[in-house]
Each structure stands twice: as C-alpha cells, then as structure tokens.
Amino acid sequence: MAERELMLARQGWADALLELGEKNPKVVVLDADLAKSTLTCLFKDKFPKRFFDMGIAEQNMINVAGGLSLTGLIPFVATYGVFVSGRAWEQIRTSICYGQLNVKFGGAHGGISVGPDGATHQALEELTIMRVLPNMTVLAPADYYETKKAVLASVEINGPVYIRFGREKTPAVTKPDSPFEIGKANIMQEGEDITIIACGTMVAESLNAAEFLATKGVSTEVINLHTIKPLDKNTILNSVKKTKCVVTAEEHQLAGGMGSAVIEVLAQNLPVPVEMVGINDTFGESGTPKELMRKYGITSKDIIEKSLKVILRKKSNS
C-alpha cells in the first residue's frame, strides 16, 4: 500500500486558526477547557486577547460565541465533537442556525479512533445531527491539509460551519496544493466498476481498498466527500452513472450520516446497489484506534468486502 505521511488533522485546524489570526483581526477563538487537546492553545499563545476560555460550560460557550458574532467578530469554538454537537445541539439549532449567526465549530475527537477514552468521548453522531439543521454547513475533511483548508474556507461563509476532525495522526491523502472548495467533492482516483464515497479518515482506508481491488481487476473510483452539506450531488451522480454501484465509508453511525446523505440522493435520482461501511447502531469502547476500527468494521478490509459484495449485486441485477 502507498506510503503516506502521518499527520494530525487537529494540527491543521490549529495552523489555519493561526493563519486566520494573522490575516483577520475579527477572528476570535473560544474553548471549553480543552485547548491543549484541540490545540487552540497555539492560538491562545499567539493572540491571548482574542482567546476566550469559557470553562467547562459548552452551552454557554456556543451562545457567547453567537453573541460575539453579533458584534462583528468571527468566533471559532472548539471542544470535543460529542460536547459541541451533542450537549449544545439545541443552542446550535435555535440560536446559531435559526439566527444564522456567523459561528464556526471545531468538532475535535470525531470518530471511534479517539481510542482509550471510550464510548463517552467517541463522537459518532455529529454528521447526522448537524446536517439536519437548516443554514448549517457540515465539513468532514480527510487529513491535515484538508482540515486546514476547510477552516480557512469556512470564513468565506457568513453563517454556521461545523468542521469535524479526529484525534489520531492519520495518513495525508491530499497535498498542500490539492484543490478544496466547500460543496465540491474531490475525485481521488477515477474508475469504472464501483464508486467508493468516503469522508474523514475513511478516505485513506478507501484508497487502500481501491489499491487492493485493482489487483483483483476492479477499477475503483474514490470520491472524497469532505462536504456533507451542501452535498455535491452532481459529482456523486456523474460517477454513479458510470459505475452503477456504490460503497459509502465513514467513521460515524450509519443512521443519518454521510452514507445516508448519499443514498438520499441516489434513491431519488439513480437507484443502484449500495453497501455501507460505518458504525452499526452501537457505542464504542476503550481500545487502541486500530483495534477499534477492526472490531467495529471500518477498515479497508471491510470496504473491500462490501465492494466485492456490491459488485456481485450489480451483476445479478443486470
């Protein structure tokens, strides 16, 4: 399998905040006592007056950020995905999204690969509960470079943006100069027989799966769906018109997540066989990231199995 540099996506978040801090004096950052973990501590060191510690009180933090935005500032709030998207969900719904407030959310520690902290800290629901909100933009970038670009691009949107990233170092699957546009999915490799649509850490797993499938004579198209909302329907449909079968892959609950967003589009426009890789209606547990990804069925091996299965389904249909 291709050798890829291992990098922290959250470092991409932090580096982008530093860059924005230099460029735009309106950018401010809030954290709920997790600055060392979300790496907003780097912004705090550089711009102490533009960093607000809000203590362990996420609901207040989200709405204080909303209030800051009403004075023309551009607040970025960070904490673990579970707490920002879950604990403060109704604050995000009613104050931020209904009010169309210009607040950016950094949902750190997304996914089961959070590891030993266990189920309470493994955010597996954010894509579902964020994408259901009107006016919200939802991003799940694939690696360090893409997370950095996502954060930089988020200030171009005058409204709420949720950016999900994980805890562990993950393989860099994009390059510093790879294109990134919110709402425009990236085709990582072209293929004819099957489309794999993935986001976040699952993009690397999908590329590994595609590499293996190639040795079996399967030509795989891999789409990096870094923007869950607004969804790039055209890229998805154009690919599937060609391949006529799909595997979705996400480090997230299957119900309502990225894969669900994809099949909502397919079912209404181009019904084809689909198999889904993701967390199947269960909580996680403590373990190493690798152990957990294996146990919960979200590795390249799982993507390969589902790919072979969906190709068989396609063939039996025709």
Binding site: I62, T71, Q91
Partner: protein, 278 residues
Amino acid sequence: MKYPIRLTELELQQKALQMRRDIVEMTCAAGSGHPGGSLSAVDMLVVLYNEFLKHDTEDTEWEERDRMIFCKCHITPAIYSILARVGYFDPKMLLTFRKLGSELQGHPSRFSPRGIEMSGGSLGQNLSIATGVALGLKHQGKPNRVFAMTSEGDLQEGQSWEAIMSAAHYKLDNLCALVDYNKLQIDGNVEDVMGVHPLDEKFKSFNWNVLIIDGHNFDQIRQALKKALTLKGRPTAIIAHTIKGKGVSFMENQAGWHGKAPSKEEMEKALAELQLKN
C-alpha cells in the same frame, strides 16, 4: 427617531397603558400568545426604551446603539408593542401577530420585525447571547451597553447560570440583566414548581451587583437603571418584583394567564380597565 428621551410621569403612564391595551388586543386577535408575562414587563420596557436605551428607530444597525436582548422571548406581545410604539414599525402590524406570513412570529426572529436584535424562544440561551454581545463590545473597546430581560423561569435553566458565571468572570460591567420576577410560571407558583429564591443572594454569590426594585414603579426603575450605568467591574442584576398580568384585574397573579389568549368579551373587559384614571 433617536432615543433616549425624557418623559413625564403622565407620559410614561399613557405609554404603559397603550402597551397593555396592545398586549390584550394582540393576543385576542391571535387567539394565542402570552399576556401574563408581557403585562408584568411593560413598565420596565417603557422606561428602558424611552429613557435609557440609546437607539435610533431609523437606523437599526447604528454602531452606537445599545443592545437589548430578550431572554424571555415568549413576551412577544410586549416586545412588538414597545418596538411599534417607539417607532420601529406601524402599530397596525401588531394585529398580524402569530398569523401566517406575518413578520411578528410567535417568538421573535432576528430578521423581523425591525428593532429585534436576536431571535429567541428557548429559555436559558439568550443570557449567554447577551454575555457574548457584551464581551464582544468590550473586547473591541466600544462603550455600548447591553441590557437583557430575563425572568425566574429563564433562570431555572442551568445555562443561565453558566452565563451569569462567565459574565462576572469577564467583568462585564456593560451588561445589565433585568429580572422580571413575577413569581408565576405555567404550572403554578415558581416556589412550588422549582424554587429560585433567594435570587438576590444567588446573583451576589456569582459576583454580580444586585439592585432590588418594584418593577411597576417608574421612579424605582429609572433610579436602578441610572445606578446600573455607574457600577464598574461587575455586571448588574436588577431584580424587579412584578405582578404577572399587571393592569388587568382578572389576569393579575393568575398562572393560567401565562399562555392563554383572552376571548373577545374578556378583551373588552380588560380594555375597559385599561384607561387613564383621573
């Protein structure tokens, strides 16, 4: 029109009566809404919007304006009435309250009508918003004041205390919270449903200044607001003892009038009471 202006006692009384008439008429026309807590807040709003808030009804984005954030957003009859009566929009629009397509939503949207600073309706959230606005203004070195109208129901929400904690932590002396303390909520007496007493001690222990007034006494409201503007280093809470349903005899101190509209007959009865007494 630019505010603040100074009004006579008689003018304040007239304006408060007009608002109370609006509240009764709006809720009757809508067939729903929240008259009780609207009526208890009227006197404070009349003083605040006329005599204290720096604002310009011609320019809702005026940089120098003070910010009024409602935490108890169910009192839209009172909110829309004061905005219309100070000149943000035609009072004729008040009777469209809660109707399909109306700018006057059951709970306010940030985008309509003119003069609303923030959406709201879910209790516990907007004291945090007010804290953020105060923090943002202070951070940018701006002198604008932030006023927030809350209530003991709003203060039952845990998030309100997170906001109170953080406003004191950041020493937001540009923030003043008015507590419309009318002692009743939907299910009955506040102290039976979920006691909040003693509110003054709670605010004090969270490092706020506390002023206690009769929320229906114009002079006390005026003096408290004047004092709040001078207190430095801490946010100020004005705890205003009020009467739910104030001004309409059969609504006063009745929890049942929290979220119930008067019938046509009840409206006529209420309007007959809401006359200037000689």
